[in-house]
Symmetry: C2
Subunit: 81 residues, 2 copies
Amino acid sequence: MKARVTVTLKSGVLDPQGQAIEGALASLGFAGTRSVRQGKIFDLDLDATDPVSARLAVEQMAKKLLANTVIEDFQIEILGE
Amino acid sequence: MKARVTVTLKSGVLDPQGQAIEGALASLGFAGTRSVRQGKIFDLDLDATDPVSARLAVEQMAKKLLANTVIEDFQIEILGE
């Protein structure tokens, strides 16, 4: 079972990396970029064959390791086999 | 116009960060994780109001700055206003 966890900074949390990219885009000549925020994805390949138990396992993984839930939100997609 | 660029390592490219996460998950007691690959997302907020021109601009940004197309693939989603 394949799953994707998308981790993004909560709104309001400062994103200096995103701001640096915004500056770099402007200096490369890309005008009209209002904001850039960076996030992470984790593509997991699991032994679990049941989507419900896979989602529960991935949720635990996200809470314990993949995301810092103080400053980050996460979203889980179960992509099937 | 909001857009999301998802950057993932091409298959075959070694992902030591993903392997470290895989090891950390195993040591936290999460059995049954076959593989983990890490990627990046960039959430862009653009002045462009036309989805077609927004996609073209974002494609140029991805090729020039956001992704290293030698080792990474990228995927663009236009999310609307």
